[in-house]
């Protein structure tokens, strides 16, 4: 082992004097490496990578496109759903408003009808009352005249002479009026 190390140490000394060593730097090879690398990259890009990567890239593009489409469809569906919901709410509000309006109209109609009926009823009643009063008054006047006639006729029979002068008549009427007052 020590021999080997010694030999290596010797070799290292020799290396600086021109013996082959892996630690040497060959600047020409740097330039060759660049040329080889760039040429290889160019050739692979032109002849190999398109064929190898085409299927993968196509698949990636397809997937990306499908994802895009799905995204769009999703957005569209969400928009439609939102619109539907909005329209439903609008329709519900509208129907509510219509119902309320109809109810109010019916209520108004009903109360108007009742009012009208009551009014007509009152009118009929008043008219009937008025007619009854008029009939009664008329009947009273008729009755009074009949009573006067009867009284005069009875009195004439009693005293045997005709009592149809205006003076007699007013006498009886005065009497009847006093009776009425006593009543």
């Amino acid at each position: 082992m020590t021999t080997m190390l010694l030999m290596l140490a010797q070799e290292a000394e020799h290396g600086t004097a021109g013996a082959p060593t892996p630690f040497a730097v060959n600047s020409g090879l740097i330039i060759w490496t660049w040329i080889v690398f760039v040429t290889l990259l160019f050739l692979l890009k032109k002849f190999a990578f398109p064929a190898i990567l085409k299927a993968t890239e196509d698949r990636e593009r397809t997937i990306a496109r499908q994802l895009d489409e799905a995204e769009q469809a999703n957005t569209e569906a969400r928009r439609l759903l939102e619109e539907n919901r909005r329209m439903l709410a609008e329709a519900r509000a509208q129907s509510q408003a219509l119902l309320a309006e109809a109810k109010a109209a019916a209520e108004k109609e009903r109360s108007g009808a009742i009012e009208k009926t009551r009014h007509e009823q009152d009118e009929i009643l008043a008219r009937a009352r008025r007619e009854i009063t008029a009939e009664r008054d008329k009947a009273l006047v008729e009755l009074r005249r009949e009573a006067v006639d009867l009284s005069l006729a009875a009195a004439a029979k009693l005293i045997g002479q005709r009592l149809d002068g205006p003076a007699d008549r007013s006498l009886v009427e005065r009497y009847l009026a006093s009776l009425e007052k006593a009543n």
């Binding site: 070799e11 060959n26 600047s27 060759w32 490496t33 002849f47």
Partner: protein
């Protein structure tokens, strides 16, 4: 000391095997003039040629896999090797690039996939006989790390704009306003810039170190065989034990090769992602 074989320089053997060199498969590489420890020549070297070979293998794998996948048709998985490559590519794309960079991950995926496969193939090449590991060379790992660094900074600049990018150097310290905040952000700017450089530096050194160290271990274990070569019958026992150890380390190296490719790609993606989401 009598037990040990004479005239064997194990250290030289190990360094020679892991270093870049001018011969491949027993043949000298024409036009290669490599000097150590620093070399500025542009000639071909062992690691350079194997890097090109790895890149070629990556291209062939991907190309045939792509054809098989296309032939399998839509909706049907590719079978066999093509299916495995497709699975790995998709794993790197989805679980490394996109998972760490985010929405823009698909744009950076080709870069991360190329990094992953090039590093993986380079790592695996070194485990084959008569091969070497290009990613066990600092020049290669530094070059790849510089690519990552440039992508991180340039993509960050393009994404954040000039003002946002300056914000990644002159950080706003939360809870401070006015002069103290300005002084602190200027004082911290060197640290922030250092942080930008340290990330790719660590990337390069980590990959290089892992690849080189693995080979050191395997070669050292093999070295035991030569070191104790004159033990008579005992040397068989040593040979069997060493072989078992090397097989185990080889299995470990296989995992490390995969793991380091994954780590390199993952950290590149993480650095790009961090910069992209800096606010």
């Amino acid at each position: 000391m009598m037990l040990l074989q004479e005239g064997l320089n194990l250290g030289e053997m190990i360094l020679h095997h892991t270093a870049d060199g001018c011969e491949l498969w027993g043949q000298p590489i024409p036009g290669c003039h490599l000097r150590y420890p620093v070399d500025f020549s542009l000639g071909p070297t062992r690691h350079g040629i194997l890097l090109v070979l790895a890149a070629l293998l990556v291209f062939i794998s991907m190309w045939t896999a792509g054809r098989s996948v296309a032939r399998a048709g839509a909706g049907k998985p590719a079978r066999g090797f093509a299916g495995a490559v497709e699975g790995l590519v998709l794993w790197v794309r989805n679980d490394i690039a996109i998972a760490n960079i985010g929405h823009d991950g698909a744009r950076f995926a080709p870069l991360i996939i190329t990094l992953f496969f090039l590093v993986l193939y380079c790592n695996l090449l070194g485990l084959l006989p008569h091969m070497a590991t290009p990613t066990g060379n600092l020049a290669v790992t530094v070059a790849l790390a510089v690519v990552v660094f440039l992508v991180v900074e340039i993509a960050g600049f393009l994404k954040l704009g000039p003002k946002g990018y300056l914000g990644t150097i002159f950080m706003h310290v939360p809870g401070l306003h006015g002069a103290p905040a300005a002084i602190l952000s200027i004082a911290l700017a060197p640290l922030e810039m250092l942080g930008k450089l340290v990330k790719p530096f660590a990337l390069a050194v980590r990959l290089f170190g892992n690849m080189t160290a693995g080979h050191f271990v395997i070669l050292s274990l093999f070295g035991i065989v030569f070191l104790f070569g004159n033990l008579g019958l005992w040397s068989y026992g040593i040979g069997v034990t060493t072989a078992a150890l090397v097989v185990a380390i080889m299995g470990l190296e296989l995992i490390v090769a995969l793991l380091q490719a994954y780590v390199f790609a993952l950290l590149s993606a993480v650095f790009i992602g961090l910069m992209q989401h800096e606010h």
